[in-house]
């Protein structure tokens, strides 16, 4: 059902946890639909220097969360905002069709964390 890359990110997830005093915090999903992703960011000089995730959800949910944190570390905010859910799925060599929507919210969580950061700058 899942690609090797998905299984790798699921069994060895990268960047699990929470940052203390994050510069940006974003959460999407809800427990009743079976998926919650929370991403916290450390941002310095427009660059995402550190990132962590916590996820309640299936194999695809964990893998996409893990992958997005890997994709975004060291990138600028603009580059991070350009990351799409589709790109995350592609980086994982694809997801089963049924998993594309519900569990592929990782990029959304990332964008929400950035929005949180940006709203605090105003």
């Amino acid at each position: 059902m899942y690609t090797e890359k998905v299984m790798d990110h699921f069994s060895n997830p990268r960047n699990v946890g929470e940052l203390e005093n994050p510069d940006g915090l974003g959460e999407v999903g809800n427990a009743s639909c079976g998926d919650i992703m929370r991403i916290s960011l450390k941002i310095e000089n427009n660059i995402i220097t550190d990132v962590r995730f916590k996820t309640f959800g299936c194999g695809a949910a964990v893998a996409t969360s893990s992958m997005v944190t890997e994709m975004v570390k060291g990138k600028t905010i603009e580059e991070a905002l350009a990351i799409t859910n589709k790109a995350v799925a592609e980086a994982l060599d694809g997801l089963p069709p049924a998993k594309m929507h519900c569990s592929n919210l990782a990029a959304d969580a990332l964008h929400k964390a950035i929005e949180d950061y940006q709203s605090k700058q105003k």
């Binding site: 699990v16 427990a31 996820t55 309640f56 049924a98």
Partner: protein, 394 residues
């Protein structure tokens, strides 16, 4: 890596002796039971011997046993067949919220033909209330269909009492016995049922074959056409290897019933105890003892079922879950929701259904694995914080 199979409610391995006999009926005693010649007569004899075996195992008469392609088809024939045959008498059907889709979807389809269906709620153990049943019955009720044992949580309904009510009111009563036959005592007269569905692959028989018991005198209209086999209730060339296999597997299961039940209850209790002692923030789903001997179903808070299953699978352990991700729909199991679980708690459910080949060592290994897995998944979960580590016992 040693694999541990704990998904016996999904299916069971076919008993090798049963498979051996089936092979004979595929290759040497292969005649079509409807043929006049000696090959056909051999097939016919095998078929009728099998029918007798099944009837004996269920406390029925051979003429009351009809072979099908499995439990789903048996449910379809029973419900649609009885409903359509009784349309002139009434159009109301009573069922429960935790039935298998073979029953629920069939009832749903019948509402498009002018039937009305009352779905009885269940309590937090998954049990229907006899009072609710009595109140639901009207003078238009022609069928009650309530499963003997539930596939997800193992809860056993008070079938004999339901049957007594049905009998008293002159209403036909069907029970889906797919998860009870071969696991707990099932006698059609003790249970007061008029129709009973069974499926071979749930009791160490082959897949693709089942049976429907129809009490003498209960009329049904067939739902498929094209032959006179099974007295027109289920036309089509009989699957003699499968039918023979089913009958031998059932006979074995019934002979070994007490021994198997004792063994499985012991294993089940060991698993439940192990989990409740080692893991906190979890709950047993279903009734503590009105329960199929091998069924264990827990909800683990703060984690999701598919992730749990994947990690178990990586350790060689096979189970199943009621989470939405594993059902392929957006909602978690309708059974768990009907019992009053929140979506969140239902998503974190795990069903381990034990079989006679499971051992105490396997149980202990599974408990240890679960403890490790839950620690990992909870560390990743936004719903779990470290303050919760203590307390919140099962």
């Amino acid at each position: 890596m040693k694999r541990i199979y704990m998904d016996h409610s999904a299916t069971t391995p076919c008993d090798p002796e049963v498979a051996q006999v089936m092979l004979e009926y595929m290759t040497s005693t292969f005649g079509n039971a409807s043929s006049i010649h000696s090959f056909g007569r051999e097939g016919k004899k095998a078929l009728e011997d099998a029918r007798e075996r099944v009837a004996k195992a269920l406390g029925a008469q051979p003429a009351e046993i009809f072979f099908t392609s499995g439990g789903t088809e048996a449910d379809n024939i029973a419900i649609t067949g009885v409903a359509r045959a009784n349309l002139k008498r009434g159009n109301h059907i009573v069922t429960s919220a935790i039935e298998h889709h073979a029953v629920l979807d069939t009832c749903e389809k019948l509402t498009k033909e002018g039937f009305e269906v009352t779905v009885l709620p269940v309590d937090e153990y998954g049990l229907i209330s006899l009072e609710d049943l009595n109140n639901a019955i009207t003078d238009k009720t022609i069928l009650i269909t309530i499963m003997h044992a539930n596939n997800e949580i193992g809860t056993i309904q008070p079938i004999a009492e339901i049957g007594a009510i049905a009998k008293e009111k002159g209403i036909i009563f069907h029970t889906d016995g797919v998860q009870s036959v071969g696991k707990i005592p099932v006698d059609v007269n003790d249970l007061n049922v008029d129709l009973l569905s069974i499926s071979a692959h749930k009791f160490y028989g082959p897949k693709g074959v089942g049976a429907l018991y129809i009490r003498k005198g209960v009329r049904i209209l067939p739902i498929s056409f094209g032959g006179s086999q099974e007295r027109k209730r289920r036309p089509g060339t009989e699957n003699i290897p499968g039918i023979v296999g089913l009958s031998i597997a059932l006979e074995k299961a019934v002979n070994d019933l007490e021994k198997d039940m004792d063994y499985l209850i012991n294993l089940r209790e060991r698993l439940i105890k192990g989990i409740t002692e080692r893991i906190n923030h979890c709950q047993l789903n279903g009734h503590p003892n009105k329960r199929i001997p091998g069924n264990v179903n827990f909800s683990f808070h703060f984690v999701e079922g598919e992730a749990l299953l994947l990690m178990l699978d990586m350790r060689g352990i096979a189970g199943s879950s009621g989470s939405a991700c594993t059902s392929g729909s957006l909602d978690p199991s309708h059974v768990l929701l009907a019992m009053g679980l929140t979506h969140e708690v239902a998503h974190g459910s795990l069903r381990l259904s034990l079989g006679k080949h499971n051992t105490e060592e396997e149980i202990d290994y599974v408990v240890n694995s679960l403890a490790e897995i839950l620690e990992r998944l909870r560390a990743m979960s936004p719903l779990y914080n470290n303050d919760l580590k203590a307390g919140g016992n099962c």
